[in-house]
């Protein structure tokens, strides 16, 4: 099952012909006409099917935005749901072109997996969730607790670090499937469930029967810059993904939304003109249509729109912008200039 999938992906590395030249991924994607995206299969807000079976989420939006930039059509995306365990092998072996699956950018992942981060679309941190009736108010009180956690995550490592640093002990219960690990927590097998705080909010809002019975403890025990990754070796493709994300954030900063983007075409702000391709140059440099960013904004929306509809006030998760606000509002979202 799981192992088989990993083994198959690993086998691809064994048999695949040698050599990869620059632009190969970009060209291959252009030729096949769609982006194969590795993402979550069931984390509401990041990547999960809605009632109609359509994939929705902030990570899904990013993939759609990349497709809009590449093909002028946000629907030119195919999804591969991946567990935490499978995701890197799937990207390494070429099974997916892009990994947008609440994945933390870390040194190991950037430097030894043959992958490279293309930006951050959600600044997060790890937290703990407990049932209210446990009567715990702080993570410092968790000595001796049993903790449910998913393997192959930074979560697993931060957890061990945190308890070590605070001279506390814990018993991990490590289960690969999200449903099963949440089930173990819900049944009381574990006192605590830990993952990225956004993930906790998602689980609480979408997976647990009674959201009000659970609280997320105040401690944030790690930094989790979540963002898209691609394979190393094709900078053309890397740059497309990176600038897609930048374009969404830039658009928010300049007040361009999916609703007003057509009017904005008439704006005489030189920045807006460059973003929307009214002043040409950017698209050509990226190897894309000059309307690349226009298509992203028109079809997917700017970063703020995507945030609110997937994880913010317009969603079940109800997360605050917090550190994910624009830098102009005191947050960390600071896009590189499109010029």
């Amino acid at each position: 099952m799981k192992l088989l999938a990993t083994a198959a992906a690993a086998a691809a590395l064994v048999f695949v012909a040698q050599g990869a030249q620059a632009g190969a991924t970009f060209d291959a994607i252009k030729a096949k006409g769609f982006v194969q995206c590795g993402m979550n299969g069931g984390v509401g807000g990041f990547g999960a099917p809605d009632a109609k079976g359509e994939m929705k989420g902030i990570d899904v939006d990013l993939c759609r935005a990349v497709a809009a930039a590449m093909f002028g059509d946000a629907n030119k995306v195919k999804h591969t749901p991946l567990t935490a365990q499978q995701r890197f092998t799937a990207l390494q072996s070429g099974e997916v072109d892009l990994l947008a699956r609440n994945t933390t950018q870390t040194l190991t992942r950037d430097a030894s997996l043959g992958l490279i981060g293309a930006g951050v679309n959600y600044y997060d941190g790890q937290g703990f969730m407990v049932t209210k009736k446990l009567g715990v108010k702080s993570a410092k009180e968790l000595n001796g607790a049993t903790v449910c956690v998913q393997p192959g995550t930074t979560t697993e490592l931060n957890l061990a670090d945190y308890f070590r640093a605070n001279k506390m002990t814990f018993k991990p219960v490590v289960i690969e499937k999200l449903d099963e690990v949440v089930g173990a927590y819900a049944s009381g097998r574990c006192d605590v469930y830990t993952t990225d705080i956004s993930g906790l909010a998602s689980t609480r809002a979408t997976q647990l029967p009674n959201a009000d019975d659970h609280i997320i403890l105040p401690e944030v025990i790690s930094k989790e810059p979540l963002g898209p990754l691609v394979r190393q070796g094709d900078d053309t493709w890397l740059v497309v993904v990176r600038w897609t994300l930048n374009a969404m954030i830039e658009a928010e900063e300049y007040g361009i939304t999916s609703a007003n983007v057509d009017e904005m075409l008439k704006s005489d702000n030189p920045n807006i003109k460059r973003i929307l391709g009214v002043t040409p140059g950017g698209g050509k440099a990226l190897g894309l249509d000059e309307k690349w960013a226009y298509n992203i904004i028109k079809q997917v929306g700017n970063y703020g729109e995507s945030f609110e509809r997937n994880v913010g006030k317009g969603s079940a998760l109800k997360l605050d912008r917090g550190v994910n606000a624009l830098w102009t509002n005191g947050g960390l979202m600071y896009a590189w200039p499109i010029r």
Partner: protein, 397 residues
């Protein structure tokens, strides 16, 4: 092809290296086959290494000596995040061996009982055994594991409301907690006594057989064996000073501390594997018994042996030859099926190697380790069972 020097040989019978010589042909074929396998293997290895390095993916087994940084839920040896990946993998191997050994023993006992029950003259017993076999064999194992895991974690209360089964024994959704002997030299002696008991039993059985062959007098090997199994550890414990202190589990904070634990993950996996495999073993045993000629039963009863004596002394020993080979494959199945542990969170080798390969990004190495471990365990089981099979075959008349 032909080498003139061979023809020039003085005393050796003239033998030409000819393509028509089947020996020559077969040597050539074998050399070619080995060379081909070698070339393909070399191509795969070098191609893989090349691919990995052009993609900037780390290779090699250096990671094994690095700090693992993760924790493991249960381990027969001490383990913490400060230990290396190598030790983590060792924990995984030990956990896999633990479930496999205990599972094989219990499944054999249960399977044999059910197999015999299927042939029972009692209609109810035979039917129940049949239904068991049919149901268990036809429900996917993974589903059964989820069932047992859910049953344990959902139906048992939390640790603060644990069921106190008997003094010192608590059942909760954290597992079954039992008192355990404290660290003491006497308990090590008892363990040694237990192992010695097996050696003594082996010697006793051989002596008893010799004596019966020589004098015709039977020795009560079963009672003797039982006495040794109980007596030897007891003796060790007494020599060690007969300590009484037990480490009794007690509730502290979230959970019980002290004592020994049977975790829900281990219990669910063990239940699932044993019950599932026992269904297959039952069929193996049944067919083995039925393979023994019915005349043997009649002959034994003509000699005045009871039905159970006949089964134990005449039929089962003969049926072993039929039983052992398929039994071996059931043992192998159980061992390999234990890899389903990941699904319910038991830290077996697959679970730990998966975590390792994910944290280090070294998928190929991780999968090689998993394959090597299963191959070694499976080959050991096969070798042992083949040896045992030969051993049985010798006594066959």
């Amino acid at each position: 092809m032909a080498d003139p020097r061979v023809n020039g040989g003085q005393s050796a019978p003239p033998r030409r290296l000819s393509w028509n010589d089947p020996d020559v042909r077969s040597v050539v074929y074998q050399v070619v086959a080995v060379a081909l396998v070698g070339i393909v293997g070399w191509f795969l290895v070098s191609n893989t290494l090349h691919n990995l390095s052009t993609r900037n993916i780390s290779t090699g087994f250096d990671f094994l000596s690095r700090e693992s940084g993760f924790a493991i839920g249960e381990s027969p040896i001490a383990f913490g995040p400060e230990n290396t990946y190598a030790r983590a993998i060792l924990v995984g191997i030990l956990n896999t061996i633990r479930i496999a050994v205990i599972g094989v023993i219990l499944a054999t006992i249960l399977g044999t009982i059910i197999g015999i029950a299927r042939l029972s003259k009692n209609w109810l017993v035979a039917k129940i055994a049949m239904i068991y076999v049919e149901v268990i064999r036809n429900v996917p194992l993974l589903l059964q594991l989820f069932f047992w895991y859910a049953l344990i974690t959902e139906t048992l209360p939390g640790p603060r409301q644990a069921i106190n089964v008997m003094p010192g024994v608590f059942m909760s959704n954290r597992g079954i907690k039992v008192p355990a002997p404290t660290e003491h030299f006497a308990f090590d002696l008892a363990a040694i006594g237990f192992m010695l008991a097996f050696v003594l039993i082996f010697i006793m059985v051989n002596l008893a057989k010799k004596r019966q062959d020589a004098t015709g007098k039977a020795f009560p090997v079963y009672r003797g064996g039982l006495a040794l199994l109980i007596g030897m550890p007891l003796l060790g414990w007494l020599i060690g000073g007969a300590p009484w202190e037990l480490d009794v589990p007690k509730l502290q904070g979230f959970n019980f501390v002290g004592g020994a634990t049977l975790t829900p993950e281990f219990a669910a996996l063990l239940f699932g594997l044993v019950l599932y495999t026992a269904g297959f073993i039952a069929e193996v045993v049944r067919s083995g018994i039925q393979a023994v000629n019915y005349g043997q039963w009649e002959a034994a009863s003509a000699l005045g042996l009871s039905r159970s004596q006949t089964l134990r002394l005449i039929v089962l020993p003969q049926s072993l030859r039929v039983i052992i080979p398929p039994m071996t494959s059931q043992y192998l199945n159980l061992t390999k099926n234990s890899s389903l542990a990941v699904a319910i969170g038991y830290p077996d080798i697959v679970s730990i190697a998966n975590t390792t390969l994910n944290q280090t990004g070294q998928a190929i190495e991780g999968i090689m380790i998993i394959m090597a471990v299963y191959l070694s365990i499976s080959l050991s089981i096969s070798l042992f069972m083949n040896w045992y099979n030969k051993h049985i075959a010798l006594v066959e008349r």
